[in-house]
Amino acid sequence: MMAFLFGRKKSANSAKERLQLVLIHDRTDLTPAELDSLKDDLIETISRHIDIDPTAVTINVARDGRSQRLVADIPLRSVGRRRVR
């Protein structure tokens, strides 16, 4: 309640959120910059085959117990929508 009034987050929550990010990088050796560059490469490669919206692509490292997985969400542009009606 106090934290809400003063607009300050509980320090344990900050610790947990910061650790979640730090551990992903420690475990995968993947920096945010490398993840961005991976995303660009992925968009380029996929775009050669299908039509996607590059601005809608998200790529993240998700934790699953002690393992991590790379999760990419790549919305496709529907063929139908591009046709003139």
């Binding site: 934290a3 509980k10 344990a12 929550n13 650790l19 979640q20 730090v22 551990l23 475990r27």
Partner: protein, 261 residues
């Protein structure tokens, strides 16, 4: 008799490895088990003072490995308990005086004579740590509910998996329930969610730990203090008993009643 070799590691220094080794060893010995603990922190020995055995050292781990004495001669018997022994670390040498295969050989010899070998790993993830885990059947990773300790514990857990010494068993040491309650300390659930390993003990912050180390009388000798009781519980879990995490379960229930996520 074939001993189980348990190594206590943490990555970060100062989280309570030596205190835990002393207390887990005392707790096991007080339950009739034959226990030898080994101080793996060569050059910075401390398990001897925590156990109050510092005045009785004649030979040390490196003397055994380099053949200057027999294994038995380096085992200092703790007279307060029927079957508790300490093999102290050398103080005037460094980690390179011992190799992982030396530790495996020494533990293989010792396995025939005791029920438990508890090894105190030095901080860090280099040679001393590799030596300490080389012979381990099980590794206990110690952490505190604090960012740097949790991060280092994660690194150690990852290394143990890579060395096929996993899965690690986690002890969360120095937990302050009041700080957890007001949201200023990572909770047991937070730490378990981050590290995703099996929990084997929760030790509350307890100033009796300092008093015990001042006197060289490990808390688990009487088991009346909160921390002493927690170490007794860890020893019982190592022996295969199912002991609920009492104090903190009521704490969690209380938190749930308060609507804390």
């Amino acid at each position: 008799m074939t001993a189980k070799v348990v190594t206590v590691a943490s990555g970060k220094g100062g989280v309570g490895k030596t205190t835990s080794v002393a207390n887990i060893a005392v707790a096991l010995a007080s339950r009739g088990q034959k226990v030898t603990c080994i101080d793996g922190d060569i050059g910075l020995r401390n398990l001897d003072v925590i156990l109050g055995l510092e005045n009785r050292i004649v030979y040390d781990l490196v003397d055994v490995i380099e053949g200057r004495c027999r294994l038995r001669q380096a085992m200092i018997r703790d007279k307060r308990l029927p079957e508790l022994y300490l093999i102290p670390a050398a103080q005037t040498r460094d980690k390179t005086a011992v190799s992982p295969s030396d530790m495996v050989r020494l533990c293989d010899e010792l396995r025939q004579e005791v029920d438990w070998i508890i090894i105190d790993s030095p901080a860090g993830i280099e040679r001393g740590f590799k030596n300490a885990i080389a012979a381990a059947d099980r590794v206990i990773v110690m952490t505190n509910p604090e960012v740097s300790a949790v991060r280092d514990a994660d690194r150690v857990i990852g290394l143990l998996d890579a060395e096929e010494k996993g899965p690690a068993a986690l002890v969360i040491n120095r937990l302050d329930p009041a700080m957890v309650k007001r949201g200023d300390m990572l909770s047991v659930e937070d730490v378990l969610d981050l590290l995703a390993v099996e929990l084997i003990g929760i030790v509350p912050e307890d100033e009796n730990v300092i008093v015990a180390s001042n006197r060289g009388q490990p808390l688990a000798l009487d088991g009346k203090s909160k921390a002493g009781k927690a170490f007794q519980n860890i020893a019982r879990r190592l022996m295969g008993e199912q002991i609920p995490f009492m104090e903190l379960e009521s704490q969690n229930l209380f938190q749930r009643l308060l609507g804390r996520k």
